[in-house]
Symmetry: C2
Subunit: 92 residues, 2 copies
DNA sequence: GCGTGGTATCGATAGATGTCAATATGTAAT
DNA sequence: ATTACATATTGACATCTATCGATACCACGC
């Protein structure tokens, strides 16, 4: 594992290693997509806090952001999760 | 995903979400086992720092500690890594 | 028991992080 | 343009964390 690869995987892991963000990922995976407007209530966090967590996940490459009218919708990027799996299975 | 399950997975993710600990896991996975005595040099960190990181990994259930004479040896607990995989593949 | 060497814990410190209130920015309808 | 509402950014704060030096705690051989 190169130093760059370690750093990249750490970005993914840090993004997931928070209860709010893990629940976000789980919800969006299960639903297929989610509107930011529903998330503060669903997570019992303020709107700025949710916005912050969404940004972390997008910057880690784990979520895609799509603007629909005034609403922001988010999807999981599965290939980014697979990068995680590759580290801990049959690999060097 | 229950709240307890989220918290448990977050413990695993937090444990892995550090470059030193990720390299530790990778090294021990590849070698099968590792002696604590070799790790400060291998990771370019002080002995207390490495000891701290090993403790975090053991407490997350990711490593087993085995005392052999004066030396401490560590193994990966693969079932704990599989718990991670279960979250992000075919699951609820 | 005593000394030696490996490992863990303590204390301190600098930097990162989660949270929210306040505010700014964006988007669309009127 | 103006209003309304969805989202992002800023600023501040408390908490957590990675790190190391100093020190304590083992396990063994003598």
């Amino acid at each position: 594992m190169s130093e760059a690869e370690v750093d990249d995987i750490v970005v993914i892991l840090k993004a997931l290693a928070d209860p709010v963000r893990l629940r976000l990922m789980n919800m969006i995976l299960n639903a297929g997509e989610a509107c930011a407007c529903d998330l503060p209530d669903a997570l019992d966090r303020s709107q700025p806090t949710v916005s912050h967590h969404l940004k972390v996940l997008v910057e880690a490459g784990l979520l895609d952001r799509e603007q629909r009218g005034k609403w922001a919708w988010f999807h999981v990027r599965p290939e980014r999760l697979q990068a995680l799996g590759a580290v801990f299975q049959i690999d060097s």
